[in-house]
């Protein structure tokens, strides 16, 4: 076997036999598992039941209607997302019905949309329609769990006396669960509207269960206010028919679905994989660079180098080490990507919903090739710097003097690139750093998702390749001139002082 490969194989084995390698390798699977777990743990609590005792008989219906409207909005929003995600096409030769307002994808649904949806039969009709037209492989639409549900006053609740009696009877009820169409629910809010509500100084009493639900309270209050405002306007002599007409006026607007691939959200989604790979590149370089550095320092401090250099040339040793560490990187990234792809297609939930579309960026051959090139080239360009530190250091303490500025010099621009790309992928900083070879892999990988002109990819890639070639020449010289100079000062100055030892 070639000497470089033998050195590479030994380097690979040494690194992969360390505990820190395996801990690093498990990072991504652990992150996915934690994400899945946290999604479950962070799920919002199920909706609550609301008990409304309306002794006037005038408000209860409006409150119920409001809850139904809010629920329809949620259902429409999910239907729109489903239609967009699974590319649900209109039934042919028919067209979408007037109630299929969700078919164009997610958007802000107006009261008119909700009314049309309800008029067409609501969720049942939509589900029947989807069953006919959904593409093969798409799962059935699963409606969101109902949120707030108004329920009839449970037995034992005092409804015909004053607020105090209502409150006293409600307190024990709030510790129990009541039956609703969506199953047993806790009573989250009790509302008592006295018979003389509307008279000056009379208030409707709200009894929450202790969990703050400002939106729920506000929804009920809005309905109470709307009816009382109408009463006041009527009392002031305004023609009620005209009032109804005025209240029905809505500024005519049409909210279209965003164009395919044009939304910021979609750009972000396509950028997710390149950005993640840029981050993984940084992480894996830092890890494997320090492993390689430790290995080289161990070889020097163990007086091993002379034995090895009697068998292989300094260049064989240098490039063998680089090949070995790149092998480690490929193993790490390969494992991470395999785990991510496996998770994308084997688990359900937010992680899978994020990963599946993110992987779509690989479907473009240019992006896929550029990702692989910048990843490997970036690995080589930066690993050589770690190797240089190892060559001029006799101990890890010596190495720290070079490592701290090296790591900061890479990490700080990386963070700036990432932030800048998230704000504006075509901003000046990522574009400038795309032409600085050490930062080009990060900048280009971060920008790939939002589209980079081919000339820029080729030019920056060629510059990076030339930079690596120069690095190889210099590190080769440094390697030969300083490997056996243990205990001497000089560091990187050796590069310039000793051309051929």
């Amino acid at each position: 076997m070639n000497a470089k490969l033998l050195v590479a194989l030994r380097e690979f084995r040494q690194i992969t036999s360390t505990r820190s390698f395996w801990l690093t390798l498990l990072l991504v699977p652990a992150a996915i598992a934690i994400s899945q777990l946290s999604v479950r743990l962070l799920q919002p609590p199920p909706g609550v039941a609301v008990v409304v005792v309306d002794q006037t008989g005038r408000y209860q219906g409006a409150i119920q209607q409001r809850f139904t409207y809010d629920r329809d909005q949620e259902v429409l929003s999910d239907l729109g997302a489903y239609a967009s995600k699974w590319k649900v096409a209109a039934p042919k030769p028919e067209k979408w019905g007037p109630g299929d307002v969700w078919a164009e994808g997610p958007r802000l649904f107006t009261p008119a949309d909700v009314a049309a949806f309800e008029a067409a039969g609501g969720l049942k009709t939509a589900q029947a329609e989807l069953a006919r037209v959904k593409p093969a492989g798409a799962p059935d639409f699963s409606p969101p769990k109902p949120g707030t549900m108004q329920v009839a006053p449970p037995a034992g609740l005092v409804t015909d006396k004053d607020a105090a009696a209502f409150a006293a009877s409600l307190t024990p009820q709030m510790k129990l669960r009541v039956a609703t169409p969506a199953g047993l629910r806790k009573i989250g809010l009790g509302v008592f509207i006295p018979a003389d509500y509307g008279a000056p100084g009379v208030v409707a009493r709200f009894y929450p269960d202790g969990t703050p639900r400002p939106m729920l309270v506000d929804s009920v209050r809005q309905e109470l206010t709307a009816i009382q405002r109408a009463d006041a306007l009527k009392a002031s002599g305004i023609d009620m028919a005209a009032l109804a007409k005025i209240q029905g006026v809505r500024a005519p607007i049409d909210i279209a679905a965003p164009p395919e691939g044009g939304s910021r959200e979609k750009v972000m989604l396509r950028s997710a994989l390149p950005l993640a790979l840029a981050y993984l590149l940084l992480l894996s370089i830092m890890m494997s660079g320090s492993w390689m550095l430790q290995g080289l320092i161990e070889e020097r401090s163990n007086k091993l180098l002379e034995s090895v250099l009697a068998c292989v040339t300094p260049d064989d040793l240098l490039f063998g080490k680089l090949i070995g560490v790149i092998g480690v990187a490929i193993l790490m990234i390969g494992t991470w990507v395999a785990v991510a792809v496996g998770a994308a297609f084997s688990v359900q939930g937010v992680v899978a919903d994020f990963l599946r579309p993110a992987l779509s960026s690989l479907s473009s051959p240019v992006i896929a090739v550029a990702l692989v090139y910048y990843f490997l080239a970036g690995y080589m360009a930066i690993s050589v710097l770690f190797l240089a530190v190892g060559v001029v250091s006799d101990s890890m303490r010596d190495a720290q003097a070079y490592l701290t500025p090296l790591i900061l010099g890479i990490t700080i621009p990386f963070v700036l690139i990432l932030q800048s790309v998230l704000l504006n992928p075509d901003g000046p900083l990522p574009r400038i750093l795309s032409w600085v070879p050490i930062y080009a892999p990060f900048a280009m990988m971060a920008r790939l998702g939002s589209g980079v002109p081919t000339w820029e990819l080729a030019g920056s890639g060629a510059l990076l390749a030339a930079f690596i070639a120069v690095e190889f020449v210099l590190i080769s010289r440094l390697f030969r001139s300083s490997l056996l100079q243990s205990g001497q000062t000089g560091g990187l100055l050796l590069l310039f002082r000793r051309r051929a030892v």
């Binding site: 033998l6 030994r10 163990n302 091993l304 002379e306 034995s307 001497q488």
Partner: protein, 315 residues
């Protein structure tokens, strides 16, 4: 044919000259001692022979070609600074170095097992280097140097750090390999090893050659010394440079420490005594030790200042 040839080789490290215009040849076969004090330039010379360092000027030939890693395992090297991969087992280590020199895995393993067995390490083949004693680790490194069955074996201070038992094992191995046809070049500053092993010697001082030849020629560098017990004063005998009485006479007989003049022969002196009826009770010839030769030759050279400077970098 010479297995190692240096012609006017000089090696400078910045303003320090480690090897100064050195020329010599090592013929094939036998054991060649490369002797010198610390900092004499022995290690630098051997590193140049292995192409680990390049000479500032002059040329080297190893096995008839420029120095380089030929990948055929013809040269085995044990460096002065010993070190092994601590996480590798003894067997893996020897196999690894065998494979770096071009052996197949099977051949390397077979040779490695044989050598480890020869060095009484058969029970430790699967033990990690970090779990071995220092002496065991040194034997593993020696096995790594010999695994290819090299024609030229270069050992840099091979005996340092070894206990007397392991030194004896190493001496046996060196003799075995030389008997089998290999050329062994080893550096040392311990003259007893050189005296027991070397057929030919080269003495270095301050990077310069001060002597090359066999042991007899080395000893001939010092005047012959004798101890006589005689009735008469031997100072008048032919060839005697000096004679020192050792204590008072007993029954008329006195012990004398004699130094012959340069080139003087003890046999000629004995013949002269017999011819002249010079009464003798004792006639002991003292062979000069290599240690004395070393001190004589190297001491003189060390005392001579050179323009090269003081300290050594990689001598």
């Amino acid at each position: 044919m010479s297995v190692l040839r240096l012609d006017g080789v000089t090696k400078r490290f910045e303003n320090f000259t480690a090897v100064d215009n050195l020329s010599f040849e090592v013929p094939e076969g036998g054991i060649f001692g490369f002797l010198g004090a610390n900092g004499a330039g022995k290690t630098t010379t051997l590193r140049m022979a292995l192409d680990i360092l390049r000479p500032t000027s002059g040329t080297l030939e190893v096995l008839g070609a420029a120095p380089g890693r030929r990948g055929d395992g013809e040269v085995g090297f044990l460096p002065e600074e010993r070190g092994l991969y601590r996480q590798m087992t003894a067997l893996e280590t020897v196999i690894y170095f065998g494979r770096l020199k071009g052996m197949s895995r099977g051949d390397a393993e077979s040779a490695a097992r044989g050598l480890l067995d020869r060095f009484s390490l058969a029970a430790f083949t699967d033990r990690k280097v970090e779990q071995l004693s220092k002496g065991m680790a040194q034997k593993v490194q020696l096995a790594a140097a010999l695994v290819t069955g090299p024609r030229l074996i270069i050992l840099d201070e091979p005996f340092s750090g070894l206990d007397p038992v392991n030194q004896a094992v190493l001496e046996d191995v060196v003799l075995e390999r030389a008997k089998a046809g290999a050329t062994v070049v080893f550096s040392t500053h311990v003259m007893q090893h050189a005296e027991r092993l070397c057929d030919r010697l080269l003495l270095l001082a301050k990077g310069r050659k001060v002597f090359q030849g066999d042991q007899e020629a080395a000893r001939a560098q010092l005047p012959t010394r004798l101890t006589l017990t005689a009735r008469a004063d031997p100072r008048k005998l032919p060839g005697v440079q000096s004679a020192q009485a050792q204590g008072a006479a007993r029954d008329g007989w006195t012990d004398w420490a004699i130094t012959l003049a340069p080139g003087g022969d003890a046999g000629a002196l004995l013949e002269a005594c017999t011819g002249k009826g010079f009464a003798l009770r004792r006639f002991d010839i003292h062979r000069a030790s290599l240690h004395e030769v070393f001190l004589h030759l190297v001491g003189d050279a060390e005392a001579t200042p050179t323009k090269s400077g003081q300290a050594g970098v990689a001598a």
